[in-house]
Symmetry: C2
Subunit: 248 residues, 2 copies
């Protein structure tokens, strides 16, 4: 009997090199690649011989169900996600919907999420305790997002913000910065990374006060330091504390 | 003139396959591999022809300085870290110490940190906003760790705990669970992942109440759900919210 399996694969931020070896192995051996149109287009060139199934944004459930149906029919399916498969990715909805496909095994292949890829570009902003928060209120009540922003600021976490803005949510980053300033200094070292791992990749270091006025778009990932984060020669660096043992 | 460069490379949790393609490319082309003895031993077999420099734990500053000196002398150096290069990794101390080596360029290569690799094994525990907290008080005051635990619980973050225990810190995980229960239900779905990506890899799902009595060791990563996290057929799944659009 053939094993029925669906892989949920984090393909990293964009460049092939930022994919794990395991992710590439899975994509090589699968029959069908399923995903959001924009991410799948990054793969077509590398894997031209595959069957593809794509849906636009906001049709994730349809995409997941179709992927599970194809796996149930005996095809080896790879559902691809930008970044990691878990972090705001498709592993969660696939595992929920897989309840109705008891013969299909789900295997999650992790990847480098934007928080880590952006960090590497900027230096080491998330080198100590950190929180990741999405500003999208499409599936989360705004009150819950605001509460998390306040709690993360109160705990002096370094923070990475996903989905800081879109056409419909122009003022959200400004509001987030204002909330953070309840507990964080306006001088807190912050940064933005845009188009991570893709054409037009760019970064900028700025203060929390400046970030408040920054016009982010949907390709931007935002980093907010903790009280000890520094700008060291153009890098955003949150200390682990090793500085205290320099005497060694 | 030869370019002086040091790469800080996240090699993922352990298995070669969980490394990024880029990390492997860098290790292939570098002259010297520097790191903590245990992680470097994972690489010796794959790259037997390299020069190696290792130091035991707690000698990170010495290791960083030696790596920077070697880069300054013209060798292509890869400083390797388990998981990601930034998350509790060596990117931060290298960037701090690199101030004294102005000719040496630092390039950070991200990797799959234990929070993501463990998540993939467990299902999708970190599929919504999450916080990563280390329970090690070697370089962080315990009051700050406790405050962060409370703030993360109050914000109903899913939480990943690094360094939950060691010989000297046997009761720390219990204390962390007690603090979390100020805001989180004792029934909260939690999990532990041990030896992620290595021999003896194992996971277990349990409630926050049960986690309080769990004996973690230094090879354990701990996951604590948010209020909506479920145990779905043995997987720890935090919803993104897609369930609400099932009607599509």
């Amino acid at each position: 009997m053939q094993e029925k399996i669906i892989y949920v694969v984090g393909i990293g931020p964009g460049k092939r090199e930022q994919m794990t070896i395991q992710a590439e192995q899975v994509l090589k051996m699968c029959d069908v690649i399923v995903g959001y149109t924009v991410y799948v287009d990054l793969l077509r060139e590398q894997f031209p011989e595959k069957e593809y199934y794509t849906t636009p944004m906001k049709q994730e459930t349809k995409r997941c169900l179709e992927a599970l149906r194809m796996a149930d029919a005996g095809k080896k399916v790879a559902m691809v996600c930008s970044g990691d498969a878990g972090v705001y990715g498709m592993a969660s909805p696939i595992l929920e919907l897989a309840k109705d496909f008891p013969e299909v095994e789900v295997e999650v292949i992790p990847g480098v999420t934007a928080a880590l890829a952006g960090s590497a570009l900027l230096g080491a902003p998330l080198a100590h305790d950190f929180a990741v928060i999405s500003l999208s209120d499409l599936l989360t009540p705004m009150e819950q997002i605001e509460k998390r922003l306040l709690c993360a600021a109160q705990g002096d976490f370094a923070v990475c913000l996903y989905n800081p803005s879109s056409r419909k949510r122009a003022g959200y980053l400004k509001r987030a910065c204002e909330l953070m300033m309840t507990y964080k200094s306006p001088d807190t070292v912050c940064a933005v990374a845009r188009q991570i791992g893709r054409e037009g990749e760019e970064t900028q270091i700025l203060t929390l006060e400046e970030l408040k006025e920054f016009q982010a778009d949907m390709f931007t990932t935002v980093f907010i330091g903790n009280a000890e984060t520094e700008n060291i020669m153009g890098n955003m660096v949150t200390p682990r504390g090793y500085r205290y043992e320099r005497g060694q």
